[in-house]
Amino acid sequence: MMYPDLTIAETEKEIVEEFALFDSWDDKYEYIIDLGKKLPLLDPKYKVDENRVRGCQSSVWLVTNYRDGKLFYEADSDAMIVKGLISMLIRVLSGRTTDEIIEAKLDFIRGIGMTTHLAQTRSNGLLSMVKQMKHYALAYKIKDPVPSKN
C-alpha cells in the first residue's frame, strides 16, 4: 500500500505538467501505454465478474482495500490504453480518505485533453470508471462514517 506524498490537486497538476511535455498525441498515447504496462499486476484471483466494470469494448477489474480510513485501489484491464488511464486515476485517488475521493474534481482528465480527444463512447468508459471508484468511496463512507484514525 502506497501512501501518497502529494495531495490530489498536486498530483493532478503534476500529471498535467507531464503531459505538457509531449507535442503529439502519438507520444501521449505512447506514454499512457507505458503507464499501463507499469501498472502492478492484479492477482488473477481478483479477475472475476463481481470486480468487473464492463465497458463497450474492454473490461476493467477494480479491487478496493480500505485501511486506516484510507481507500486503496488496484485494477487491471485487457486493453492497454484503458490500463494507462486507470493507472493515472489510481495515482490520483488511491490511498486517500473517502471524503477526498468523493470530492475530487479530477480536472486533470480535461487538463491533458483526454475528454476532447477520446471519442465520446470511450470517454464515457473513462467516466464510468471514475464513477465506479467514487461509488466505492461512498459505500465505505456509509459503512465507516467517522474513519478510525491511527
Binding site: C56, Q57, I81, H117
Partner: protein, 414 residues
C-alpha cells in the same frame, strides 16, 4: 471473323473520391482514411444535394395532399420504390416496403408473419454469423410462442457448415433467416442453394442483405427468397431508410405491423380496413427526404456499375489480405473462399480497442469490437476484432497507411 476485345477500364478513383466531400476532412490533423464502410458508407454529393433540394423546393407530406408540393413529393418518393424494385429485381413495386432500416424490416417479418404463423414446437433456423438484429427478433418470437431457435454452425474459415444446416431442416422448420454476407467476416453465404433446400421442407426464408446489397448483384426472383431486407445507408444512401422485399402472396396474407395513418383505407370505431400493399406496412409519415435521396444513391451505383465496383473492391481486399498478413502477430479472422470487402483481424497482445484508438489518432477509421455479433466472437474465442471494410472510393494507398499504422501499433504495444 469478328473478335471484340473489351478490356475493362479501371475506375477513375480520383474522380470518384471527389464526389464524396467528407473525404476532404482531416481527423486529428491527418487526412481521413475511412475504412468502416460495413458500418455505413459515406454519401456522394448527389445524395446530399437531393436532401437539400427536397427541403428547399418541395417539402410536403406524401400520398394525401392534393396540392402541388404534395404531388411532387409523392412522385419523388414513389420513384425511389421503382428504383429499388429494379435494383433488387423484384417482380412488382407493391412488393417493396419502405422501412427505417434492415433491423425494422426483420422485426416486421418477425412481428407480422411470425406471430401469425409460428406455433409451439415450430423451429426457426438462423446461423452463428448473424448480426444481433437477425438473432434477437427471432429469440423474442420463439420465447413468446414456445418455438425452437436452431443455429447453423460455422467452420474455422468462417463458412456455414451446409451439411449441418441440411440435417436441421425438417417438417418442423417454419422459417430460415440467414445473413447473405457476414458483417464481421465478409463471408458470402450460398443463399440460393439454402433457399431451395428450405423451400423443399416448406419453410419461409428471410435473407438479411444489409451487407450484400451494396456489393453483390441482387435478384430476389432468381434467388427465390421470400423476404429480403437491407438498409440504404450502407449503399451510399441516407440513414433511416430500409427496404423489405416480400413475395406478394405472403405480404397479402400478413397482418399490419403498426397501426396509424397511411396504412388504412377506412377507419371507424367499429372497424378499420387496411390499405393495399405496400402501404399496409407503411404506417405514419415516412422519412420522405431520405427515401427520395436514396434514389440518387442507387443512380450513383448504377452509373459506375456494380461489377466494376466489385472488381475494384476485390482488388483492395486481396491487397489488404496480402499486406496485413506481413504484420507479425496479425491473424485474419474469416478466410471464406467466397468473401467481399471485409477484413477482420486480431493482433497478438493488442486489444482491438487500443488498435482502434491508435489508428484513429492517425486519421484511420476502422471498426473494433464484437460487431454486434457476440456469438460469432465466442465461436472464435476472441473478445472482438478490428475490421477494415472497403467501398468504391477506397484506394491502395489507404491500405498502405493502415498497414503503417498497424506496424506502429505493434511496436508501441509489444
Amino acid at each position: 471473323m469478328n473478335v471484340s476485345l473489351t478490356i475493362p477500364k479501371p475506375l477513375d478513383i480520383i474522380a470518384i473520391r471527389q464526389e464524396f466531400p467528407i473525404l476532404n476532412r482531416e481527423i486529428k490533423g491527418k487526412p481521413l482514411i475511412y475504412l468502416d464502410n460495413a458500418a455505413t458508407s459515406q454519401k456522394p454529393q448527389q445524395v446530399i444535394d437531393a436532401i437539400v433540394h427536397y427541403y428547399t423546393n418541395y417539402n410536403a407530406n406524401i400520398h394525401r395532399g392534393i396540392h402541388t408540393l404534395a404531388e411532387e413529393a409523392t412522385a419523388a418518393f414513389e420513384l425511389t420504390r421503382d428504383a429499388v424494385k429494379s435494383f433488387i429485381g423484384a417482380g412488382s413495386r407493391e412488393e417493396v416496403i419502405i422501412t427505417k432500416g434492415t433491423t425494422e424490416s426483420i422485426n416486421l417479418v418477425a412481428y407480422s408473419w411470425g406471430r401469425k404463423n409460428i406455433k409451439a414446437g415450430d423451429e426457426i433456423i438462423i446461423s452463428f454469423m448473424e448480426h444481433h438484429s437477425n438473432i434477437v427478433p427471432w429469440q423474442i418470437l420463439c420465447e413468446e410462442k414456445n418455438a425452437v431457435l436452431k443455429v447453423i454452425p460455422i467452420n474455422d474459415k468462417g463458412e456455414l457448415i451446409i451439411g449441418e444446416y441440411e440435417k436441421m431442416l425438417g417438417p418442423k422448420t417454419k422459417l430460415v433467416s440467414i445473413v447473405h454476407v457476414s458483417n464481421a467476416l465478409g463471408t458470402v453465404n450460398p443463399v440460393k442453394q439454402m433457399i431451395a433446400t428450405a423451400h423443399a421442407v416448406g419453410a419461409v426464408v428471410v435473407i438479411d442483405g444489409a451487407q450484400s446489397a451494396v456489393h453483390l448483384d441482387i435478384d430476389v426472383v432468381d434467388m427465390d427468397c421470400d423476404f429480403f431486407a437491407f438498409s440504404a445507408h450502407k449503399v451510399y444512401g441516407p440513414t433511416g431508410v430500409g427496404i423489405l422485399y416480400g413475395k406478394r402472396a405472403l405480404l397479402d396474407s400478413m397482418p399490419p405491423f403498426q397501426g396509424g395513418g397511411e396504412m388504412i383505407k377506412e377507419v371507424s370505431f367499429q372497424k378499420t380496413t387496411y390499405n393495399d400493399l405496400p402501404y399496409k406496412f407503411e404506417a405514419g409519415t415516412p422519412n420522405i427526404a431520405d427515401v427520395i435521396a436514396f434514389r440518387s444513391a442507387l443512380q450513383f451505383v448504377k452509373a459506375i456499375g456494380k461489377e466494376k465496383i466489385r472488381n475494384h473492391e476485390r482488388e483492395l481486399l486481396e491487397y489488404a489480405h496480402q499486406e496485413l498478413e506481413k504484420i507479425p502477430g496479425l491473424k485474419i479472422i474469416g478466410k471464406a473462399s467466397e468473401k467481399v470487402s471485409v477484413v477482420s483481424f486480431v493482433i497478438d497482445k493488442a486489444h482491438p480497442q487500443d488498435i482502434g484508438i491508435l489508428l484513429d489518432n492517425r486519421g484511420i477509421a476502422v471498426r473494433t469490437g464484437h460487431h454486434c455479433a457476440q456469438p460469432l466472437m465466442d465461436r472464435f474465442a476472441i473478445p472482438g476484432t478490428s475490421r477494415a471494410s472497403f467501398a468504391v472510393y477506397n484506394a491502395k494507398f489507404e491500405i498502405d497507411e493502415l498497414v503503417k499504422g498497424l506496424q506502429r501499433v505493434v511496436k508501441i504495444l509489444s
